[in-house]
Every structure is written in structure tokens, then in C-alpha cells.
């Protein structure tokens, strides 16, 4: 059984009449899995074979190669399949509406089928996910994971149709999404990845696809526990203002609550390997008398109702301003990281609209936040879009000659965060 360690960081002291309780909860998992070794898994590679994948031709070639490398990373015994996506979804391997156990023979056979794939047709991502969801639903006891590769916009179905599919397959599997080239929509793919609790990233050049697929499939194969939920109990009268994952990326979870009872709700966290994630929780509590203490929330990780670890979020009212005004470093840091992601997305949108004023303000603030927190990855991506005059004050100028790759990379990776204490103290 994997061991989960939870720790809460907060300033529990509230002034007279104070109601807002903020806490950062760090969760680490040792990825040990069950005593019987690694849990059983199922994996599907979904590869876009729409007509646009033909140009440049190395795109489909790289996609075939990357898919084959991903297949090689699937360990023996894992149920797997390959879906080719156009305006319809097609199970390329195996045949017969089910997944097959990976073995040297089946992996080899699958790779042959993949090498026969040729581009042609449209793009309807929902239909691909629907097919994958149906296959995964047949093996609900397994850790189900998909990698989806696309190079274009979801043109051949409505956003409503995609939403309907997402609602339908939600919980059936985890899906990492990759966009190759620059003809796809960041917001669209992010929506799919967020909903299906996966990652999203850009692969600007087809050549980089193979390495990315290898990494994504290896990570998936390292997952040791499934169906782990973040369970939050809050005291009677208290209200959950928000729950969001803040490390390694910002993911809003507030709307994903599944009520367990009137005071408790579960938030999905999908699968865990050896990793650490941080969550920011804000609970609004009814104020109590000075000197009183209460438990505002109890946060735990549960797998099939078994509690794997827990942390307490407290509130204590005090007259001592030195205590109640103390800022929790972790809370401040991740509040900044969330604002950073928002600023980038809003700034890029304003830039596209031609609203130079808003774009300069938002991206300037983003530079300031990235510099303060030591988020070098985001800082570097920002540097390709803006000219930084003074990071401390967020004084910047918009660059005129921004490549679409740089803009999309910044957008895609805007939600990446860094741990507290990386920046200058």
C-alpha cells in the first residue's frame, strides 16, 4: 500500500469577526502501490490521423514513431489499444471492441498496424474519447490512462458535443493531451486534459514527439494507486470557498466536488505515483468568540473509503494582531502562482484582441509574480513574448515579432507552478 503524507500550512489565528481560513496542504506519495506489486493498468494511445497530419509529411511519420515508442513502454500484462482519430474514431489495434494484454507478440502486432496508418479525414476529438471511454469502462478495476495527440482544431463536432462526451467519460480514465504544431486550440485541449485530470503540453516540432510520448507513458506506468480522492470535511455552518491543486500545476477542483454527506465532499485526484502535490483550500467559517478554537476542516486522502492520510485545518480567534496578521508564506506563494496563471491567460487574450494596455498590464504583473516566486520556467516563456525592462516592478514592453509557437507555449504552460521557497526569501 502506498503511503501518503499530508501536512497543512496555515495561519490559524483570525481577528475578531474573521471568517476566512486559508491553508496549503502538501501531499506526498511514495508510490509503493499495493503489497502484490503494481496494480493492473490499461492504456490507450489516441493518435490524430486527420488529413492535416500529412503536411508536413514528417508529422504523420513522427506520430507513428511516437505511438510505437509509447507502445514499447507499455509493460507486459497491461491491457492496451491504439485509436486512430479523424472525424470518426477507429480502434486500430486490437480488433473487436476490447483491449488486449500487452506481450511481445501483441506489441509487435500493434506496431505493425500503426505503421499502416495514413492521414485523411477530419477531427472530432469527442468521438475518440467516447471510444476510449467505452473500452476503459470494461475494465473499471484497472488504472486507466490515455495519451491523446492532435494537430488541429476540433472542427468536426460542436463544443457542446465534446462537452457531452467529457461529462460521459469523466472518471473512466485519465488523459494526457499533446498538441503538435500550432494549428490547435490551447483552451480546447486544456479543457479536455483538465476534465480528464491529465496534463496538456505543446510539441512544436514533430521530432520531439517520440521523447514526449516515452516520458508520458513511463509516468503512466509508474502510477501505483487509482481512484484516490481528496476528501474534505468542513464544520457545520462553514462553506468551502475553493479547493484547487496548486502544484505542479494550477487545477481548479471546486466545481468537481462529489458530496459524501452534508458536511463532506470528495474531489478527484486520479492516480498517484511517487510524487508530491500541493492544494490550496479556503473555508469560510461563521465567526466565534475570541479565545475559541475550532476545526474548520479535516482534509484526507481516501482510496475506496479507506483513509490514507489526513491533515487538520484550524481556526482560533484572537485579539493579538501580531498573531492574526501574520501571513502564511505558503498561502501567499500559491495565491501568487494562481494569479500568475490568470494574468498570463488574460494578458495573451488581450494581446490577441489588440488591447495593448490590458495586455501590457497583465503580462507585466505576470513577470513581476514569476520573478518574485522564482518561477524561472514561466519567466523564460514570458521573455519570448515580452521585453522585460524591470522584473521587480513588472515594467515590460510587448514584443512585436512573437512567434506563434512562443505564444502557444506560454499559454499552454501558464499553469505550471513552483514550490514555495524557490525564489528569493
Amino acid at each position: 500500500m502506498s503511503t501518503f503524507t499530508l501536512e497543512a500550512y496555515q495561519n490559524e489565528y483570525l481577528p475578531l469577526g474573521g471568517t476566512e481560513v486559508n491553508a496549503i496542504v502538501t501531499v506526498t506519495s511514495d508510490g509503493a502501490g499495493s503489497p502484490s506489486g503494481q496494480p493492473e493498468a490499461a492504456a490507450i494511445v489516441i493518435v490524430d490521423t486527420s488529413g492535416s497530419m500529412a503536411t508536413p509529411h514528417r508529422k504523420i511519420e513522427a506520430a507513428r514513431e511516437a505511438t510505437n515508442i509509447a507502445i514499447d513502454c507499455i509493460r507486459d500484462g497491461v491491457l492496451f489499444g491504439v485509436i486512430a482519430g479523424t472525424d470518426v474514431a477507429r480502434l486500430v489495434y486490437p480488433s473487436g471492441n476490447r483491449l488486449l494484454e500487452a506481450s511481445p507478440q501483441t506489441r509487435d502486432a500493434a506496431k505493425r498496424m500503426v505503421s499502416g496508418l495514413n492521414p485523411g479525414g477530419g477531427t472530432a476529438i469527442g468521438s475518440w474519447l467516447k471510444l476510449a471511454g467505452g473500452l476503459f469502462r470494461m475494465t473499471p478495476e484497472r488504472i486507466c490512462h490515455a495519451i491523446l495527440l492532435t494537430d488541429g482544431e476540433n472542427k468536426h463536432e460542436t463544443p457542446e458535443a465534446l462537452d457531452a462526451v467529457l461529462a460521459e467519460v469523466d472518471g473512466a480514465f485519465q488523459c494526457d493531451c499533446r498538441g503538435v504544431g500550432t494549428d490547435w486550440q490551447v483552451s480546447e485541449l486544456r479543457r479536455v486534459a483538465s476534465r480528464l485530470l491529465g496534463t496538456v503540453d505543446i510539441i512544436p516540432e514533430p521530432e520531439a514527439m517520440a521523447e514526449d510520448f516515452r516520458a508520458a507513458m513511463r509516468t503512466a506506468m509508474g502510477k501505483a494507486t487509482r481512484n484516490v480522492a481528496l476528501r474534505l470535511w468542513t464544520a457545520q455552518g462553514a462553506k468551502v470557498a475553493f479547493v484547487r491543486q496548486v502544484l505542479p500545476t494550477i487545477e481548479e477542483l471546486t466545481g468537481r466536488a462529489v458530496p459524501v454527506n452534508e458536511l463532506t465532499a470528495d474531489y478527484p485526484t486520479a492516480t498517484w505515483g511517487t510524487e508530491a502535490r500541493d492544494y490550496h483550500v479556503r473555508i469560510d467559517v461563521p465567526p466565534r468568540e475570541v479565545g475559541e478554537e475550532m476545526l474548520a476542516g479535516r482534509i484526507s486522502l481516501v482510496e475506496d473509503d479507506q483513509v490514507l492520510g489526513q491533515a487538520l485545518i484550524k481556526a482560533t480567534w484572537t485579539h493579538d494582531h501580531q498573531l492574526s496578521t501574520r501571513i502564511c508564506r505558503e498561502v501567499a506563494h500559491y495565491t501568487g502562482q494562481a494569479e500568475l496563471a490568470d494574468c498570463i491567460q488574460e494578458g495573451l487574450e488581450a494581446r490577441k484582441r489588440g488591447d495593448v494596455g490590458t495586455a501590457t498590464f497583465k503580462l507585466g504583473r505576470a513577470v513581476q509574480l514569476a520573478a518574485e516566486s522564482g518561477n524561472d520556467g514561466t519567466m523564460k516563456l514570458l521573455g519570448a513574448v515580452v521585453e522585460v525592462d524591470d522584473p521587480a516592478t513588472g515594467t515590460i514592453r510587448l514584443r512585436g515579432d512573437v512567434s506563434i509557437v512562443d505564444e502557444m507555449s506560454l499559454d499552454t504552460r501558464s499553469t505550471s507552478t513552483v514550490r514555495v521557497g524557490v525564489g528569493a526569501p
Binding site: L91, V92, S95, D108, N118, L131, G237, A238, E293, D305
Partner: protein
């Protein structure tokens, strides 16, 4: 086991009240197994790609839009390919098709694989009927083979592809227990064994 908090709540947790949070749990999960939907695996239209660069040929254009390849150019001299049909005891035993007996007397049959499509199927012996190139309609007859079962296509670039044509019992390759998907090209090379019907194995040979 419950404890009573200062406000009089019965709490299952002993550190803080599980109702009001005063200093001093979770219930059943809601996991529901979902219904499996009917899957969409309809094959999309098959196109004839350029053998050189793989680009889709538009209409009957003579030259490839991608690389300028001449679709009507005479094929370069290549090696000879053939398909050798045998009856495979192992396959027969594995499938154990009821009502079918294994043909003990089965002479190897050799079919040349010519450039282009070589259909695998079963003719009925009607006069004037266009028999498939690899005709398995002679005795002893394997009842698991469709009239038009699959195709072995030798392309101008030297590749050889296997394609199941939506046969009733499917087509499998080598030791893979699963049949290949219909209407998808699967590359085959020298020594590959194409398995069809109750006992028929077609070995691809390149000389």
C-alpha cells in the same frame, strides 16, 4: 463508539467534533459502475496513398501532389514474392471449430504474388466467375474462409501489405491471437504467416 462534544453533538472523531468542529467522518462512497456504450469503430474511407511519401492521391491525378511521384510509372524491378498455403495443425487444435475436421492430406499450394492486389478468397467454381488470385476454393475446403476474405497488396515501393476485407472470421498474423482490424493495411514481410479460417496458414515468401 462516539464521544460528546461541548455543544452536545455525538461525534465519531475524538479530537474535534465531527459536526461543529469544536475541540474535543466519512460515510459510504458513491462510486457507480457505468454502462458501456456501443462503440463506434466504423472504418473510414480507404484511400490509395502515394507509395513514396504516403500523401493521399487526389482523384485520378497521375502525379502525387506531395512528391511528384508518377502513379502510372512502371514499377522498378523487384524480387519475386509468393504465398504458400499450408494446413496448420496447431491452429486447428487451438480454434477447435466444431464440425470441422483437419485435412490430413494437404499438399502445399504455391501462389505467385504479383504487383498490385492479390485477393485471398474462395471461388465457387462457377463458369465465368472472376476467381481471386489466391483461390482457396478447392478441396480440401476450409469452411472458415470468406468468398472475398483479404488482400495481399504488393506496392510499387516494394512494400507488401495485408488487408482484411471485413471477412466473417477475420485474419490473424503470426502468433498474435487477435485478428487484425478490417480495412487497415498491415505491412508484412518475408516469413510472415497469415492465418485465415479453421486451419489455413498462408506464408509470405520473398525470393
Amino acid at each position: 463508539m462516539t464521544v460528546t462534544c461541548p455543544s452536545g453533538h455525538e461525534s465519531k472523531t475524538a479530537d474535534y467534533c465531527d459536526r461543529c468542529g469544536a475541540p474535543i467522518g466519512p460515510a459510504g462512497a458513491t462510486a457507480v459502475l457505468p454502462v458501456v456504450d456501443e462503440l463506434d469503430t466504423s472504418p473510414s474511407l480507404r484511400r490509395e496513398p502515394c507509395p513514396k511519401c504516403g500523401a493521399v492521391r487526389s482523384g485520378d491525378d497521375r502525379y502525387c501532389e506531395g512528391c511528384g511521384y508518377d502513379f502510372e510509372s512502371p514499377a522498378p524491378a523487384t524480387s519475386t514474392w509468393e504465398a504458400i498455403v499450408t494446413a496448420d495443425r496447431g491452429q486447428f487444435d487451438r480454434l477447435a471449430t466444431p464440425g470441422v475436421s483437419f485435412p490430413e492430406e494437404f499438399g502445399e499450394r504455391h501462389f505467385p504474388l504479383s504487383e498490385g492486389e492479390n485477393r485471398i478468397g474462395r471461388s465457387r467454381g462457377h463458369p465465368g466467375e472472376a476467381a481471386p488470385e489466391i483461390d482457396l476454393g478447392t478441396q480440401p475446403l476450409d469452411p472458415g474462409i470468406s468468398r472475398l476474405h483479404a488482400v495481399l497488396e504488393r506496392r510499387a515501393d516494394g512494400a507488401c501489405l495485408l488487408r482484411d476485407l471485413g471477412s466473417t472470421n477475420g485474419t490473424a498474423l503470426n502468433d498474435d491471437p487477435a485478428p487484425i482490424s478490417p480495412n487497415i493495411d498491415v505491412p508484412v514481410t518475408d516469413g510472415d504467416r497469415v492465418r485465415v479460417g479453421a486451419w489455413t496458414t498462408i506464408t509470405v515468401r520473398r525470393r
